[in-house]
């Protein structure tokens, strides 16, 4: 067990380190701006005096490393500063939007994970069958589609022609859960389609890869049924790769959400970051990037730790 604890601790430390470096990059990238935020705010017509005054106001005249640690400290306490565009507290802007994005991603994940695992295991079980080839072609096609294409197809069919679901998802903090689920159904399905294809293909590959191992042949020669071989002999060993597949795709989900949110005008983080990039509202972009990166790193960290915990060689050392 000690070895496992040590490895888990190592991964955690590595994750923290990565997070630190990422925050450094996000902070430093702004420092590389020609000019600085003060000039950016005031625009080209500003006089050197007003720029200097604003700089003092924002504390930009102090050395970079001190500002970095202040910025990091503020972030850690949930204080992301103010937006350049409308001077509002960024924390306020983020609040409901973060929740909305997590809701949408979670919604898609709840449908996609069981679906793709089932499809993947079935495809591995009936390898080279008509079902396998059909699913293979279908997922390959679905991977190839840009998200906005899938989204507009959905809108054209389900929102415009049949009017089953709204094309624009306007949810607020007060929207009750059932209405939320109904309104967010189309974007959730679009996201599901995109990641299910990936997850299903990777699950299938992981299991097929395992089916070639000598211990699976041994299981067959012990006269076990196919079902028992897959569930009892292949699956426990496929756990680590499958966990990785899921984490990778959930991490992808958080990013894929950006485009889908824009298409459905869904009030989430993705929408916010795009708006802010267009307006060059740097503090908001910084904050959003950090949150996306944090989610991404945490999911990958979780996958790492879970695959350590599912490895019998590590759990039961000699």
């Amino acid at each position: 067990m000690d070895a496992v604890l040590k490895m888990v601790a190592q991964r955690l430390a590595l994750g923290l380190l990565t997070l630190f470096v990422v925050s450094l990059i996000i902070f430093a990238s702004v420092e590389m701006l020609p000019g600085d935020v003060a000039e950016e705010i005031l625009g080209q017509s500003a006089t050197p005096e007003t720029v200097a005054a604003l700089r003092r106001d924002l504390g930009l005249d102090r050395p970079a490393h001190i500002r970095y640690f202040e910025w990091l400290g503020d972030m850690a306490q949930g204080d992301f500063g103010r937006s350049l565009a409308n001077k509002r507290e960024i924390t306020e802007l983020l609040g409901t939007r973060l929740w909305n994005t997590l809701f949408l991603a979670g919604y898609a994940a709840v449908i996609a994970v069981p679906l793709s695992l089932a499809l993947g295991i079935l495809a591995a079980l009936y390898r080279n069958s008509l079902y396998d080839r059909l699913v293979n072609s279908a997922t390959l096609t679905s991977i190839s589609f840009p998200e906005f294409f899938v989204a507009y197809i959905m809108i054209a069919i389900f929102a415009v022609s049949w009017r089953w679901f709204p094309a624009i998802v306007n949810v607020t903090a007060e929207t009750p859960l059932d209405e939320r689920l109904y309104k967010a159904f189309l974007p959730a399905i679009v996201l599901t389609m995109v990641i299910t294809a990936h997850m299903m293909r990777m699950t299938r590959a992981a299991i097929i890869n395992l089916m070639a191992s000598p211990y699976i042949e041994m299981a067959r020669l012990k006269g076990l049924t196919r079902r028992r071989i897959i569930l009892h002999h292949a699956l426990p060993n496929a756990l680590a790769p499958i966990i990785n597949v899921i984490a990778l795709n959930l991490a992808y989900l958080v990013v894929g959400v950006v485009v889908v949110e824009v298409v459905f005008v869904y009030p989430g983080l993705g929408q916010l970051i795009i708006d802010s990039v267009t307006k060059r509202d740097i503090p908001v972009v910084q904050a959003c990037s950090l949150i996306f990166a944090l989610t991404y790193i945490l999911l990958n960290l979780l996958a790492d730790i879970l695959s350590i915990l599912s490895n019998p060689r590590l759990l039961h050392p000699r």
Binding site: L19, V21, S144, F145, Y152, I153, A167, V262, I274, N300
Partner: protein, 286 residues
Amino acid sequence: MAVTSDTPRRSPARAVKLLRESPWSARFGMAVILVYVVAALFAPAIAPYGETEIVGAEYEVWSEQFPIGTDNLGRDMLSRVIYGARNTVGIAFLTTLLAFLIGSIAGLLAATLRGWVDQLLGRTVDVLMAIPSLIFALLILTIVGTSVINMIVVIAVLDSTRVFRLTRAVSMNVVVMDFVESARLRGEGLWWIMRQEILPNIAAPLVAEFGLRFCFVFLTISALSFLGLGIQPPTADWGSMVRDNATLISYGDITPMIPAAAIALLTVGVNFVVDWFLHKTSGLKE
């Protein structure tokens, strides 16, 4: 049991045989790629109107004059779709090429030299990959500004991390082989080992990866353009064409889906070809 590996002399006859044995999906993919290449190369000759020429009213419906109507500024949609092959595909191709140049050389160096070079490159890539690439691209583009050159460089650098990982991984499998050790012990230099001993043995997975990377880059650029942060107007580009004309969809007009379909069709085609290629060469390496 040793299966006699298929290591034929390169010959046109063999290529024809390979083509004839290819499944329908791969043939379909190759046909699609061919059509796009032709469209990209001969766009001015094929397109009925100029790329940025305003030829009619805004949002004109499909007609004999404008087979798929006009766009939000009154430019011919069909001509812009054709020019889009040149712009969108061309830029994606260049970006992928750049990403490969950076990623594969770095990956080969890391695998061959190992030691601190490997550590340094590996750790850098770990950090770059810890940030989702679309988000990273957005952050950088906010700062350096949205231009085609900036986008190409940013996406190529971010994407080269994946090429690096793959190149390094497959090279590592080759580097541990005795024939590489034998070449080292003979006293061969770095360039010979990379070029003659390793590269020929990792060519197949790299070619396949090029196809997959191209699709990924192509989709990323389209997504950025769709979000208004990629290829800028008035250049005809499929992603931004969807964005500019998206309002039509709520009126039941599917014209804006045509450039989106053009993107989808090419990625499907490339994926089909790569899938077949991987299947063919899977005997060598994953």
